[in-house]
């Protein structure tokens, strides 16, 4: 239908009288065969549209939630939904009245609509449910469709409750840094042991298998479609717990049976839908919230995320909205191995370390001298370790799988139940961590000049922020800016601006040999060649190693080899490029007090030939979940800077 109707009334309520008329004309024109058998009750359709328009149902929140309408800057509305098959009116994406009238019209037909090719009543079962609730359809005049496919699908869930699943952030895959959220539909007969049999509702971008580096750009700017799917939870557990080695948190939601039903009905509608996937904004966490809005439209959730959506913030919001009940964790395979190994006696640990290398040693007298209980525990932990290393599958995993067979054969011969060790995940309940945005205010001296500073960071966490709920030893900073006012010349300036600063420390031990790495792009203020305060653009990257001790509480040592490029008018030729190294340490002094020391030496061979020695000493004291104090000292080449600040997270 290529023409547009002009609005006839203030709410345009009369223009939709055209729809039934057009439908009747099409019917006469010999459209799908099913039609002739089903004479459409045009007068009842008109009556329903009139009643809907009089009640302004198309302006109601429920309707906007089901159609994913969001207000536009020009005062109209637009649906975020990008699949044309989701709308029954050609103007449905921007016109809620047209869509409602077209939906009612299609309810009178058994025409197959949408990507799922079902009658409209079944393809859009949540719309039908809500409109029926509001308009009380007369079943004789608008016969309900049986919708067997939906009913079978719905019954297969046997749904009792919904749980939000949050695999924590994963530093070695940029698209997973902030973690992921999806829903699990808990069955009525489910026990804690059979949770893995439940289905999930997952929203993900569909990325072609040959995607290269443009993946990141396209993922950020919405070039990939995102679809919902219902993958069994056992596959998701394998993906996150076994392959990625991410701890998983499970948040049971307090939803009524009706809310669960509404959520599933709308999920079924999503089979006809896709959204353009935006990594920062309309991402997995955002659209999972949109399903929860359909479960309970009276609680606004999406309004809180106008620009970007960090998964843990959505969980915090659900908790604030009173929707979150019990939270339980599912530790990753590597967490299991580390915690179990740490609980071993020295003798058990020695055997563990020997068996994962050469399982044949278990035949010797030495191992059999352990009690059956101890043997079972060592063998099970060894099996966990070998499974962890064979999880990715393929040829690399084969030797680990073979060793695991030997270990498990021995384990099956021991008819004991090994001791149960409580396994705490390394990442404490993420929604109880600090807020993901931060503001700070402070004061200090730079080379005897006093200043005040304010800083703000959009996201997310740095090495000195309170680590509860965040990946330990990992730093992700996006869009951070600091403004300073220097007293003596009353000079105000942008002191630092950091679009991206990411650093991942991976302490090596006998179980893991992963490298540490860092990437930084930004601008800071330097004193150089007679310029007292000069802006300096920086791009740098480094690779290194880290180690951990527990001499005092917990200490992490690190060393990086790095390359750096600088751009500033302070340099001869305005730039310099070079390389060097950094060593440093992070130390937890108490639960609240953390210290970081680092020193770097860089030599620049291109552009201005020069070198740089830098020191940093930082100290943080946690006041509460969302408040902390910091004292930081920065030294570089005749440039000394000390600042005391208070940080608030939100």
């Amino acid at each position: 239908m290529g023409f547009r109707f002009h609005r006839l009334g203030p709410h345009g309520r009369f223009r939709y009288l055209w729809f039934p008329l057009l439908v009747a004309i099409f019917m006469q024109a010999g459209s799908p065969s099913g039609w002739a058998a089903l004479p459409i009750d045009v007068s009842y359709l008109n009556e329903l549209i009139d009643r809907a328009n009089e009640a302004h149902l198309a302006d109601e929140r429920e309707w906007h939630v089901l159609l994913h309408y969001r207000p536009t800057l020009t005062g109209g509305i637009k649906s975020m939904q990008d699949d044309p098959g989701f709308f029954l009116s050609p103007d449905g994406k921007t016109d809620s009245y047209a869509e409602l009238a077209a939906t009612l019209t299609k309810f009178f037909s058994d025409d197959l609509v949408g990507r799922s090719k079902q009658p409209a009543q079944c393809a859009f079962v949540a719309r039908y449910y809500w409109l029926n609730e509001r308009l009380q359809f007369d079943e004789r005049r608008l016969p309900p469709q049986p919708c067997e496919r939906f009913i079978r699908w719905f019954d297969e869930f046997n749904a009792a409750a919904i749980t939000v699943i949050f695999p924590v952030g994963f530093m070695n895959n940029p698209s997973s840094m902030f973690g992921h959220t999806f829903l699990r539909v808990d069955g009525k007969e489910q026990t804690p042991q059979t949770r893995i049999l439940a289905y999930t509702i997952n929203y993900a971008a569909q990325v072609p298998p040959d995607a290269g580096l443009d993946y990141a750009i396209k993922g950020i700017f919405g070039a990939y479609p995102g679809y919902f799917s219902t993958i069994p939870y056992y596959l998701k557990v394998q993906e996150y717990r076994d392959i990625d080695n991410r701890d998983i948190w499970e948040y049971r939601l307090n939803l009524t049976p009706l809310q669960v039903r509404r959520l599933l009905m709308h999920t079924w509608e999503m089979g006809n839908a896709y959204f353009d996937y935006f990594f920062f904004g309309e991402n997995c966490a955002y659209h999972i919230l949109s399903l929860l809005e359909a479960a309970e439209p009276s609680i606004p959730l999406l309004d809180r995320f106008p620009l970007y959506t960090i998964p843990v913030d959505t969980i915090r919001l659900l908790r604030e909205s009173g929707l979150v009940g019990e939270a339980v964790s599912r530790p990753s395979r590597s967490t299991l191995v580390r915690r179990k190994r740490a609980s071993m006696t020295a003798e058990e640990r020695t055997w563990f370390d020997r068996l994962i290398r050469n399982p044949a040693e278990l035949e010797g007298d030495g191992f059999r001298a352990l009690s059956p209980d101890q043997q079972a525990f060592v063998l099970e932990t060894a099996s966990d370790y070998l499974l962890q290393h064979s999880a990715a599958g393929g040829a690399e995993g084969a030797p680990f799988r073979d060793k695991n067979r030997t270990i498990l054969r021995a384990r099956s011969g021991l008819k004991v139940t090994s001791r149960d060790v409580p396994v705490e995940p390394y990442i404490k309940q993420p929604d109880l961590g600090h807020g993901t945005s931060r503001v700070g205010a402070g004061a200090g001296w730079r080379n005897h000049r006093a200043f005040e500073e304010v800083n703000i960071r959009a996201a997310y966490h740095d090495l000195l922020d309170p680590e509860k709920g965040f990946t330990p030893d990992a730093q992700i900073e996006f869009l951070s800016v600091a403004l300073r006012h220097y007293h003596d010349e009353s000079q105000a300036r942008i002191e630092r601006f950091t679009p991206i600063n990411i650093l991942s420390l991976a302490p090596m031990d006998s179980l893991s040999r992963a490298p540490s790495w860092k990437v930084n792009v930004g601008m800071q203020t330097i004193r150089h060649n007679g310029c007292a305060l000069c802006s300096n653009g920086v791009g740098s990257a480094g690779i290194g190693a880290a180690a951990e001790t527990q001499l005092f509480k917990r200490e992490v040592y690190f060393a990086f080899a790095e390359a750096e490029a600088n751009y500033s008018r302070a340099y001869e030729e305005r730039h310099r490029v070079g390389g060097g190294g950094t060593v440093g340490m992070l130390a937890d002094m108490t639960d609240r007090w953390k210290v970081m020391l680092s020193g770097s030496y860089l030599k620049y061979a291109l552009g201005e030939t020069s070198d740089d020695i830098r020191w940093f000493v930082g100290s943080r004291y946690t006041l509460s979940q969302n408040w902390a104090l910091r004292l930081e000292y920065n030294h570089r080449d005749h440039d000394n800077d000390v600042v005391l600040s208070v940080q608030a997270y939100f």
């Binding site: 799922s116 496919r149 297969e156 219902t230 993958i231």
Partner: protein
């Protein structure tokens, strides 16, 4: 590179076999996770690797929506009765083989409990079932390495001949 080509061609086979079955079934229906149920496990030449492929595919996000799409008209399956129930057990055994092996060897665990539930073994009989799988660990895993379907078959047979479990009527 070779590995990638192999994986892609394997996934290709997977998709084709799905499409073929959907046509044969003539019933474009979906249950949650139903895509799996349509696989002709018996005819698939290399059942052992299916798990890894499905997992690969769902992991990179490029395939999960085909296999587990919601109400999508093209990837349907029949979801009623015995056919589906049986394939659910086989799919679970194939996709969780390593975790199941571990649970069987130690005589407990959520994967084993879930398999028992799928096989219809009542909760009060599950401890006996767990002990039996530990007892027969080596033969079950040897069967499983040939094909997960063979392992499920061996398990069913072991249950049928077990002095206690055989008393229990369970869904086959």
């Amino acid at each position: 590179m070779l590995k990638k080509v192999l994986m892609l061609s394997a996934v290709g086979v997977f998709v084709v076999s799905q499409g073929g079955l959907a046509l044969a079934a003539g019933n474009p229906d979906t249950g949650p996770g139903c895509g799996l149920g349509k696989l002709a496990w018996e005819n698939y030449p290399n059942q052992k690797t299916i798990g890894a492929q499905v997992l690969q595919a769902t992991t990179n996000g490029s395939f999960g929506t085909n296999t587990f799409g919601i109400s999508s008209g093209t990837s349907g399956c029949t979801n009623d009765g015995k056919f589906w129930a049986e394939h659910k057990v086989n799919a679970f055994a194939a996709l969780n083989f390593e975790n199941l092996s571990q649970d069987m060897a130690q005589g407990h665990g959520e994967h084993l409990a879930s398999l028992a539930t799928l096989m219809g073994i009542p909760a009060d009989q599950q401890p006996a079932f767990f002990a039996m799988t530990q007892e027969k660990y080596t033969s079950l895993v040897t069967a499983g390495e040939t094909s997960p379907v063979a392992m499920v078959k061996a398990l069913s047979e072991a249950v049928a001949t077990h002095p206690m479990l055989a008393q229990v009527s369970f869904k086959k």
